[in-house]
């Protein structure tokens, strides 16, 4: 089966921009939830790339992988939010800059 004509580079560039934005978010944000959301953005940038490539190659592999990523992301959300809740209970804050007890 011939791959459908698709301007793949546009998708890749878009996903890369999304990924970079997510990474920047992680670097800049102080709110733990926002940081986590930025990570989700990075994952979804990857998903976008995967879907694009799957379409490009016209096969299932990439799409299946996307499902895995989404599932895992859901699991991460569950754990991450739980942890953030716990932290909030103890500290009354989810500012990650205040998480600096552990250092040399």
């Amino acid at each position: 089966m011939e791959p459908a004509p698709l301007n793949i580079s546009a998708y890749v560039v878009l996903s890369a921009i999304l990924f970079a934005m997510g990474a920047l978010g992680v670097l800049i944000r102080r709110n733990a939830i926002l940081v986590f959301m930025s990570v989700e953005l990075m994952l979804n940038a990857a998903n976008l790339a995967l879907i694009a490539f799957a379409r490009f190659y016209n096969q299932m592999d990439g799409q299946i992988l996307v499902f895995f990523v989404m599932t895992v992301a859901a699991a991460e959300v569950a754990v991450g939010l739980a942890l953030i809740v716990v932290i909030f209970r103890t500290r009354r804050s989810i500012n990650i800059d205040e998480l600096s007890r552990l250092k040399d």
Partner: protein, 772 residues
């Protein structure tokens, strides 16, 4: 079994004696110990006599191997324990064991009552064994063992009274410490000499592939050397190895090829062939090598025989008990250097013809000059000493100078002859001096018990009497008649007065110098002759001074006044020695020269010059004048001035002080050697701790810790943090969010990851970019 096979006994008997005393000595009385020790010495002497008779009977002597020692078969190193019986070694054995036995007997009386009586005799036997090993060894290394062991015994015996806690009269140093220092000095200075000797031995092995002296030459062989004069290169090199096969001494490349015969025959053969010696990667002409070897040996000689510049230990060695001074530091050990040169006469004579040193000097010339200068210098110093033993010590150095000069001049017979006669009369003088000291000490005890107080003593700080200071004596002639007479005989023999032993032997030395100057036209000979005659004059003068100061005039202290003669066990050996000192000259009586003939068997270059009446008369006249001067100065008037000074002290002024302080040798050494040595040692130790230990280690360790702390603290959290912060700031500004300059840690870590990502991508992708 030949009589010569007994030779190991001469060493083993004293060793057995000392082991016996060490094992059971503590259960024995002084008498038992003395019997064992003196018995051992006496038996050794008997063995020596037996060997001597065997040789005199016309046999050639023998090399007696005992057991392997250092043997590395793969490379041909084979240095066995082996002993050599020839006329030279037997001469030494007779002198050592004979005089040694007498001194052992004397010491029984002298050491009576000493807390460590037994140990003293253990050391004495050990010395005897070591000295006999030295003279009987058939190779350089065994000789060296004896050489060092006698040094050890010297060390032990000088330091024998190491626990004395009375302060030394002269210096105020605690006696034991002074003895200890003297002992150490002796050992260490001797080691400096040994340093030269051992290097010589190493060179000898690499030249000849063996350290054995060589086969004992028969009388015929010795005769063959008769005409060989010094300075000529020897022709009659043996061409065959012991196996009978002809072995050329030289390889086609002109390299000396050892034939396994022994050092001396090979040395002659090599010199004749003029080959080169392969030493490591270098090649050296044989002549050069022999010059080096003989000069290195001379270093050893100056150490052991107390020559310039290493003589400084001998005067200090007088801190030991007097029998030790007599045996070791006068009669036997210190003559080892003379023996060494004589034993190596082949090498020295070979070196005489090699002209590579400045001023046209050859090693034997240097030996002769060292000896002559030493003889002169020590003679002058002896004039200005107060201590009875110190005078004798410098006298010994001076006489050793005579012997060394003699062997340096090629007068091996004369040197050995003087060695033997000197052993007699110097042992006699020391023992008699010991007798004097003993007597004065007794007198002091006696005076003390009777409550008499010394009006005035010399050499003391707090009115304690020094029994060795001649100023505290005087008039002992009547109190100690036997001692007086034997002392006078010894003094006359030493001064070289006819017909005592010293006259004959010293005359032969002067004659050798004279002949060297006149017959060979060697200016060294004249120089040596002048120095030696001067030394002889000083000898006669200071012996006269000593005799008059001790025995004549009025007693200058109560102790001298109450001195008493010693028991027979001390005086009998003196009488025997006195007899020997009187008659010893007969050994090599002019005309017959039995000693010279005897030595020719083992000393190829031995030669005896005929008696020269004129020279003898001149020498005698000079000695007579010197004695007369002493009579005038020290006998005609009281020996000391009224304020306790020597008669010459004022007239000579600074010169006296210069002589009294031994030409300032000790001061010079102290400033030139010991102080820098100590300072450098201290400095190195300081540097070692400061820089290598504390500096380097602590620096490394501390520096490391600092780096670790820096990386762990400042770097990981500081620099990286700061870089990360900086990058973070830039990122934030780029994002238009400049509000929060302070970033939190999690973000820093994330940024670190991010930077890592960038770096990894860069590394992986950059080649791609440049590749395309």
């Amino acid at each position: 079994m030949e009589v010569f096979d007994l030779v190991p006994l001469i060493v083993f008997i004293p060793i057995a004696g000392l082991l016996l005393n060490a094992w059971i000595g503590r259960y024995l009385s002084e008498k038992g110990i003395a019997w064992i020790a003196c018995g051992a010495a006496g038996l050794s002497f008997l063995v020596a006599v037996a060997l001597g008779l065997g040789l005199a009977g016309g046999s050639e002597g023998k090399i007696v191997p005992i057991v392997d020692w250092i043997k590395l078969p793969a490379v041909g190193v084979d240095i066995p324990w082996a002993m050599r019986v020839d006329t030279l070694s037997v001469t030494m054995m007779l002198a050592v064991a004979g005089v040694g036995t007498l001194i052992h007997i004397y010491a029984v009386g002298y050491m009576h009552g000493d807390a460590r009586f037994g140990r003293f005799f253990i050391y004495m036997n050990l010395f005897l064994a070591s000295m006999l090993l030295l003279v009987t060894g058939n190779n350089f290394l065994v000789l060296f063992v004896g050489w060092e062991l006698v040094g050890l015994c010297s060390f032990l015996l000088i330091g024998f009274w190491l626990h004395r806690d009375a302060p030394d009269p002269e210096t105020g140093i605690i006696g034991g410490i002074k003895n200890t220092n003297a002992a150490k000095k002796a050992f260490i200075v001797n080691r400096v000499g040994d340093f030269g000797f051992i290097l010589a031995i190493l060179l000898i092995w690499w030249t000849f592939g063996t350290l054995d002296f060589g086969p004992i030459q028969g009388a015929a062989h010795a005769a063959g050397h008769e005409e060989v004069a010094a300075g000529e290169v020897h022709e009659a090199a043996p061409e065959s190895a012991p196996g009978g096969e002809a072995v050329a001494p030289v390889t086609p490349e002109g390299v000396c090829q050892p034939t396994g015969e022994g050092v001396f025959p090979m040395a002659e053969a090599f010199m004749a062939a003029g080959c080169n010696v392969k030493l490591g990667s270098a090649e050296v002409p044989i002549g050069t090598l022999i010059v080096v070897v003989t000069l290195l040996m001379l270093v050893g000689v100056t150490g052991k025989s107390a020559q310039i510049p290493l003589f400084v230990w001998l005067p200090d060695a007088m801190a030991g008990p007097t029998p030790v001074s007599a045996l070791i530091h006068a009669a036997t050990m210190v003559t080892a250097g003379v023996y060494l040169v004589t034993r190596n006469n082949v090498l020295y004579e070979a070196a005489r013809g090699v002209n590579i040193l400045p001023f046209g000097l050859s090693p034997p010339d240097i030996v002769a000059l060292v000896g002559a200068i030493t003889a002169f210098m020590a003679g002058t110093i002896a004039v200005a000493q107060w201590d009875i033993k110190r005078v004798l010590a410098y006298s010994t150095i001076s006489q050793l100078g005579f012997m060394v000069a003699a062997v340096g001049l090629g007068g091996y017979v004369a040197g050995m002859f003087h060695l033997v006669t000197h052993a007699f009369f110097k042992a006699l003088l020391f023992l008699a001096a010991g007798s004097v000291i003993h007597g004065v000490e007794h007198g002091a005890h006696h005076a003390h018990e009777h409550g008499t107080h010394e009006a005035r003593t010399f050499g003391y700080r707090e009115g304690v009497l020094d029994p060795q200071d001649m100023r505290n004596m005087g008039g002992l002639r009547r109190r100690m008649p036997v001692t007086f007479w034997v002392y006078v005989i010894g003094a006359l023999a030493l001064a070289g007065i006819f017909p005592f032993a010293g006259f004959w032997s010293k005359d032969e030395i002067l004659l050798d110098a004279f002949l060297r100057g006149s017959e060979y036209g060697d200016p060294t000979g004249w120089l040596v002759l002048i120095l030696l005659i001067g030394a002889a004059a000083f000898t006669a003068f200071y012996m006269g001074r000593q005799v008059f100061m001790i025995f004549f005039g009025a007693p200058r202290t109560q102790a001298a006044g109450h001195a008493s003669e010693n028991p027979p066990i001390m005086t009998y050996p003196l009488i025997v020695l006195a007899a020997l000192s009187t008659l010893g000259g007969l050994l090599n009586v002019p005309g017959l020269h039995p000693f010279g003939t005897w030595l020719e068997q083992s000393v190829p270059h031995a030669h005896t010059a005929d008696f020269n009446v004129l020279l003898a008369l001149v020498a005698l006249a000079i000695a007579g004048v010197a004695v007369a001067l002493a009579v005038v100065i020290y006998y005609m008037r009281p020996a000391l001035t009224s304020d306790g000074l020597d008669r010459l002290q004022r007239p000579l002024g600074p010169l006296w002080t210069f002589l009294h302080r031994k030409w300032l040798w000790d001061e010079a050494y102290h400033n030139a050697v010991i102080r820098p040595f100590n300072a450098l040692g201290g400095l190195l130790a300081h540097l070692d701790v400061r820089y290598l230990r504390d500096g380097l280690d602590q620096g490394l360790y501390g520096g490391f810790n600092r780096i670790a702390a820096f990386l762990g603290g400042d770097f990981d959290l500081g620099i990286i943090d700061r870089v990360v912060n900086g990058v973070g700031r830039v990122t934030q500004q780029l994002a238009g969010q400049a509000r929060h300059l302070q970033t939190g840690y999690v973000r820093n870590y994330a940024l670190s990851v991010m930077l890592g990502v960038l770096a990894v991508l860069l590394i992986l992708l950059l080649p791609l970019l440049f590749g395309q």
